[in-house]
């Protein structure tokens, strides 16, 4: 790869903090506020902007990826001429319920180049952009780039194999207009990116050929585009996936159907969104394990550190393949 591997600071890991909340039931109210203040600060830091250190140097383009997988691709195409920030990178946050903080608004409003998903997944981006109009700012809205309607039911576009090549091409175009002197560099990076995606695309095709119409169950449509590309047959009705995605209670009829998929061994793997869980999804995981069905945890945002977009996608496909062929569970990457 022609660029440095981006490194998100795993700072202020908010997982350390619930201990503060644990005592909350037992302490007097005054103490509570004292205990909670650092907790809230820690969380805001954890969910806020994560970028690779110092502010943009002169000659660098300040860029923002609303989700860290897009930020990663910006970094790969822009290389040393961009300074990228990712808004959503916390693997413990449900991106669908994300609310932007003032510091996020500042980062976004100062960016010269933005990649956002659209389809209602990151509406806060549009709000911030329209609140701070800037003539020079370039926004790549992936939904518009792919010419998808606002009513697209599944917003997890980055799992679609055709998405990132299109994003990479658009990035090379926009970056070249911002810094025409480095157009050849950006174009070469985009070509290298496309080439590095080939192993994943080939693996997807091969999976479809070797295991046609493999039946699986899911909790959410997170990885549905990839499953579709791999020729997988997702037996979970979309209504239950949408309910869990939107944080409402699925109907008991749907829950029974999902349970029957496990009990009757009708699926070869259970692909669940380990980033967003509820007592119901946990009970599904238990049901699947009980029936000996391998569980694969998938991610809404790119797990960091250690992954780039390509290796993340590859790792998830591998996990599904191992589940189907060897019955091995991969609950976390």
């Amino acid at each position: 790869m022609p660029v440095d591997n981006p490194r998100d600071n795993p700072r202020d890991n908010p997982r350390d903090n619930p201990r503060a909340a644990r005592g909350a039931g037992r302490v007097p109210r005054g103490l509570l506020a004292v205990l909670l203040a650092p907790l809230a600060v820690g969380v805001l830091a954890g969910c806020g902007v994560s970028s690779s250190g110092d502010p943009a140097a002169p000659g660098q383009i300040a860029a923002v990826g609303a989700e860290n997988e897009y930020a990663n691709v910006i970094e790969q195409i822009g290389g040393r001429y961009v300074k990228v920030s990712a808004i959503e990178s916390n693997p413990n946050t449900d991106p669908h319920t994300y609310e932007a903080s003032p510091s996020v608004a500042q980062t976004v409003s100062q960016a010269a180049l933005i990649v956002q998903n659209g389809v209602g997944y990151d509406t806060y981006m549009e709000k911030i952009e329209s609140a701070s109009p800037s003539a020079g700012r370039r926004v790549i809205d992936v939904q518009k780039l792919l010419d998808l309607p606002e009513s697209t039911p599944n917003p997890h576009l980055w799992y679609k194999p055709s998405t990132m090549p299109a994003v990479a091409a658009a990035l090379a175009r926009e970056l070249s207009e911002l810094q025409p002197a480095h157009a050849a560099y950006f174009a070469a990076n985009a070509r290298a990116f496309d080439a590095s995606l080939q192993p994943w695309l080939k693996a997807l095709r091969r999976f479809g050929e070797h295991h046609p119409n493999t039946p699986v169950a899911t909790t959410e449509p997170v990885a549905d585009y990839m499953l579709e590309a791999a020729g997988v047959d997702n037996l979970t009705p979309f209504s239950i996936q949408a309910d869990i995605m939107n944080g409402t209670d699925p109907a008991p009829q749907d829950a029974s159907l999902e349970q029957s998929l496990f009990a009757a061994h009708r699926v070869k793997a259970f692909v669940h969104n380990q980033q967003v869980t509820s007592s119901l999804t946990e009970s599904f995981v238990n049901d699947a394990k009980h029936s000996g069905i391998p569980v694969v945890g998938v991610y809404e945002t790119m797990p960091t550190p250690g992954y780039d977009y390509q290796s993340w996608m590859m790792a998830e496909l591998r996990a599904i393949e191992e589940a189907v062929t060897q019955g091995v569970s991969t609950e976390k990457l």
């Binding site: 907790l39 413990n92 209670d249």
Partner: protein, 312 residues
């Protein structure tokens, strides 16, 4: 049975694990709520129940943060609140309403923070719906023993204290004179109430919990003034509302928008409301009849002495 009841119970109702758990938990909770509710209405302490609901909201949402069951959170915060209320002496709304309102607001604010943290650092989803409005179809079957034990404990406590409780409810002075430890009885009842509200919150959510506690009890007390009968009637009405709500919510899967059932709590609370309205009908008709009789008498008097007005 399935044949002639087919229009009522949609396919799979009796086979669904979620429905079975909901029916068992719902019945246990409704019985406890009915029994406690009668005393709550008689003592004029529905405010305390509402307060337990509000404070339980922070407890339930906080429980997710430490990976505990929401019921445990509702219960712990409710019991703490009962202790605080007993110490400060604000079991009723009158007086100190300002300070209490602000404290309850703070509790709900804490709930807002916990719910935010639940979805940001603890990858939980659907917490807001589960805590505020209840997710009775999502209750794990493994919760049934805990619910049953809690419900049995509350009923047992009530059986033990019901006589002194009744006496100190009707007249604290006479109870005190007869050697009833009024304050201890009151505090015990408050703890039982906190547990009952926690159970209600598990089924129909913390902010709706009072409806199940007060509604059937108030309706029952309109039908009979005898506390024993009122308790049985309230429990029966509560169970009926709960079960009918579960059936309707299950069937609503086939109503628009198809494939998404309506919330159980909506049905339960609406049924409770309708039952309460209906329970007022006899008294209303009585009043109307009395009114009509008075009017008739006045009219008859009027006709009987036609010249009185002019004579006067």
């Amino acid at each position: 049975m399935s044949h002639f009841l087919a229009p009522v119970f949609e396919v799979g109702f009796f086979e669904s694990d979620a429905v079975r758990t909901a029916v068992i938990v719902g019945a246990a909770v409704a019985v406890v709520a009915g029994a406690l509710g009668v005393f709550t209405v008689m003592r004029g302490q529905s405010f305390a129940a509402e307060a337990f609901g509000d404070i339980g909201t922070s407890g339930g949402s906080g429980a997710f943060l430490i990976g505990a069951a929401p019921l445990v959170g509702f219960l712990v915060f409710g019991v703490l609140a009962a202790g605080a209320m007993e110490l400060v002496g604000i079991q009723r709304a009158r007086g100190r309403d300002l300070a209490t309102g602000i404290a309850l607001g703070a509790a709900l604010g804490l709930a807002a923070l916990f719910m935010y943290l639940d979805s940001t650092i603890h990858n939980t989803t659907g917490v807001v719906v589960t805590i505020l409005f209840g997710s009775i179809f999502e209750i794990a079957g493994s919760t049934i023993p805990l619910v049953a034990a809690l419900a049995a404990a509350v009923v047992a406590v009530l059986l033990v204290i019901h006589r002194p409780l009744l006496l100190s409810t009707v007249s604290p002075e006479i109870a005190g004179a007869r050697g009833v430890p009024v304050r201890i009885v009151g505090a015990t009842y408050l703890l039982a109430l906190a547990a009952a509200v926690a159970l209600c919150a598990l089924t129909i959510g913390s902010i709706l919990s009072t409806a199940l506690l007060i509604g059937p009890a108030a309706a029952a007390l309109r039908a009979t003034r005898r506390p024993g009968r009122a308790v049985l009637l309230a429990a029966a009405l509560g169970v009926a509302a709960m079960w009918l709500g579960i059936v309707l919510a299950y069937d609503s899967y086939y109503w628009p928008p198809r494939g998404n059932g309506w919330p159980v709590s909506f049905f339960v609370v609406t049924i409770v409301f309708v039952v309460y309205l209906l329970s007022g009908v006899p008294a209303w008709r009585e009043r109307r009849r009395a009114h009509a009789a008075t009017a008739r008498r006045a009219f008859a008097d009027d006709r009987g002495t036609p010249h009185r007005a002019t004579a006067g």
